[in-house]
Amino acid sequence: MNFRTPIGQVAFLVLLSCIIGFGSNLVRADKIPWIAVKLATAESIDKDVETGESVLVAISLEQAKNLFEQDILFVDARDEGYYDAGHIQGALKNAFLMELIFNIEERQNKSDALVVYCGDPGCGDSEDLAYNLQDSGFTKIYVFKGGWLEWSKAGYPSETGI
């Protein structure tokens, strides 16, 4: 590797970044898996079945619509600007976590079902929020992976503003 040539320098910088990045991940306390793990998808959902176990699964558009019709609480995990531009009808805004928890608990118990969604299939915000809510004691959390993109494309009930 010739450090005097630009290509040699590029190769060195990339290689060094990989060595430090991968190496530090081996030793740090908050290490992450080498390959991102996807959330398990629910084959069927039945909110009335009390398993006593914590539920955190991904659901499809139709399952989300089904839960919407059963008046299950929806939580929008996206940024406020996106929420104001359009969100699932009746969905709660993702403010600070404690404020959100307070808002949810005003409406229901921690053992009641709720649906979390974000922008589109595969966005991470809904999963992040779902895990945070699970850590805070909520036990029946469904992550609607299709999110706002699938919901709005399907023309299902939505609203704008705060």
């Binding site: 450090f3 630009p6 430090i20 940024d79 600007g81 922008g119 595969g122 915000d125």
Partner: protein, 150 residues
């Protein structure tokens, strides 16, 4: 590299991009899981490779920033800066074209920064891209310590 741009301007841009990269890398190095999610949000990386990318890219940004400011391997750092800006511009553009509503993940990956992707983030990266090209095609090597000449 063939020199077109005055070395004073190139030096000024070198420092600016260097500071931007170091600043941008910091939060990502501290919070790799959040950075990996931010990358995953763009849907531009297949097979769950966003985690590996998050581990390496945050350090690459830091190293490029340090090299640009310290005047070490400036050509290589400037090329990487150009490549990264092109990748960022492509990633943001394809996300916007697909109607994906996400936060940028450019500087902060933990807080809700409100830095959502949009035309403004693309324009910002185009400015950094132009600055990187000016550094790459500078007329002479001012305040550079390795290599001093090609």
């Amino acid at each position: 590299m063939i020199g077109y741009f005055k070395s004073q301007i190139a030096f000024f841009f070198r420092i600016i991009i260097g500071v931007v990269f170091i600043y941008a890398s910091w939060d990502k190095i501290i919070h790799p899981a959040e950075f990996a999610k931010a990358i995953g949000n763009y849907h531009a990386v297949p097979f769950g490779l966003e985690n590996l990318m998050a581990m390496a890219m945050s350090w690459l940004e830091l190293l490029v920033g340090i090299c640009l400011i310290a005047g070490i391997m400036v050509d290589g750092a400037a090329i990487m800066s150009v490549v990264m800006m092109v990748v960022f511009i492509f990633a943001i553009s394809q996300a916007l074209a697909r109607g994906i509503s996400i936060e940028c993940g450019c500087f902060s990956v933990t807080e809700k920064s409100g830095d959502n992707i949009g035309i403004q983030t693309i324009l910002r990266d185009i400015v950094y891209l132009v600055m990187s090209l000016v550094v790459l095609y500078r007329s002479e090597r001012k305040f550079e310590f390795f290599p001093k000449s090609v």
